[in-house]
């Protein structure tokens, strides 16, 4: 009973969390908490076979399926807050509370009598006893589930299958399309420019600079731009100088330790410096070359 009193609040809290979290991924993780706790409760209730099946089928297969579909649909497909039917949400919560009160009260009113326990039924082993029942009394139900499963599998394949309406684009047709786009709309013909590679630093979140010093927006990933994670080249240079100042400002030997620290930091931040230009070495005040 100890396991129950530990797990029951956890399960109820996780289930309530599913109702309030915005993101579907968080709901899936909370559902995993509920399902694993349920598996432990099955083990407590003398159902070791269902304990294993719960973990393998529910947390292993069904939740993974949920997560896969979430990856396809988009992780940030969060819930909309607008109510389409006025007053539906409070009404639903009220009805749910009513259902809970009625169910709990009615369960609390009845007396179930003494628990028989599964010691006798599980005598030859839980799995053997379940198999005896499954392949004798419930054999027709078991055979029917095979029809259900194959129908579900075929149905899922039919639903998820996408018929290709046009011909498959080949490399030649893609190239011809690019040239056509260039001729008609003047779109850039070649590959996109690489992100900024400077003498002192380079990073994928720093755009390359055009000859006039303005950043080239197309040189960084659109995803980073949408998240607002793009840094300008002078900002990055300032960061590096802060780090170098912190390393160089260490107390102790005035000369050599600080020099080696700033030198090693320089090398890690700047793999292109060796080939590009060692001109900025030892010159922390200069900005990135434009």
């Amino acid at each position: 009973m100890t396991a129950f009193w530990i797990l029951a609040p956890v399960m109820v809290l996780a289930a309530l969390g599913i109702l309030v979290v915005r993101k579907a991924v968080h709901a899936a993780l909370l559902l995993a908490v509920v399902m694993i706790s349920l598996a432990v409760l099955y083990a407590v209730l003398d159902a070791p076979f269902l304990f294993a099946v719960q973990i393998i089928v529910y947390t292993g297969a069904i939740l993974m399926l949920f997560l896969f579909v979430m990856m396809i649909v988009g992780v940030d497909a969060s819930d909309s807050v607008v109510e389409t039917i006025r007053g539906q949400r409070p009404l639903a919560v009220l009805l749910g509370l009513g259902l809970a009160v009625i169910l709990v009260a009615s369960v609390g009113q009845i007396t179930l009598g003494t628990v028989v326990g599964l010691d006798a039924a599980n005598e030859g082993g839980n799995i053997e006893a379940l198999a005896n029942l499954l392949f004798s009394r419930y054999v027709f139900v078991f055979e029917t589930t095979s029809a259900l499963l194959i129908t579900a599998a075929v149905g899922a394949m039919v639903l998820a299958h996408r018929e290709r309406t046009g011909p498959r684009p080949t490399q030649a047709s893609r190239a011809a399309q690019r040239v056509r786009d260039f001729a008609e709309r003047g779109e850039h013909l070649g590959p996109l420019p690489a992100p900024g590679v400077y003498a002192r630093h380079n990073a994928v979140d720093t755009p390359a600079l055009l000859p006039d010093g303005t950043p080239a927006e197309s040189s960084v990933s659109r995803t980073l731009a949408a998240r607002g994670r793009i840094r300008s080249a002078p900002d990055l240079a300032d960061d590096i100088e802060d780090v170098q100042r912190a390393l160089g400002g260490l107390p102790g030997g005035s000369g050599s330790p600080g020099d080696t620290a700033s030198g090693s930091g320089h090398n890690t931040e700047n793999p292109s410096a060796a080939a590009g230009g060692p001109a900025t070495d030892g010159d922390p005040g200069s900005e990135a070359p434009r």
Binding site: M1, F4, A8, M11, I18, L19, A24, A27, L31, V34, L38, L41, L45, A47, F49, L50, V53, Q54, V57, Y58, A61, I62, L65, F66, V69, I72, V73, G74, A77, S80, T84, A92, L95, G96, L97, L99, A100, L103, V104, G108, L112, G113, V115, V116, G117, L118, A121, N122, N126, A129, L130, L133, V141, T145, L148, A152, G155, A156, L159, A160
Partner: protein, 100 residues
Amino acid sequence: MTDVTPYVVLSAILFSIGCVGVLTRRNAIVVFMCVELMLNACNLALVAFAKQHGNLDGQIAAFFVMVVAAAEVVVGLAIIMTIFRTRRSASVDDASLLKY
């Protein structure tokens, strides 16, 4: 022998929470998760009653519920994916074309 009433009460609470989730959430995937929560709550009650009565029929029933739930999730998620592919949305409010 311990009593199984707390398990049944917990199952009732989880079922009600799943019910509220189906009614309030708008994301079809989360609605599906709440349906799974309700099925799991029923399973808990079935296993608890199996222990109460001392025979394994309840556990067999819970096993079949799991099989049906697995099939239901596969088909349901395929439907959600198809709707998402045509309408670019996983919200249950957007799939209302049959109304008109």
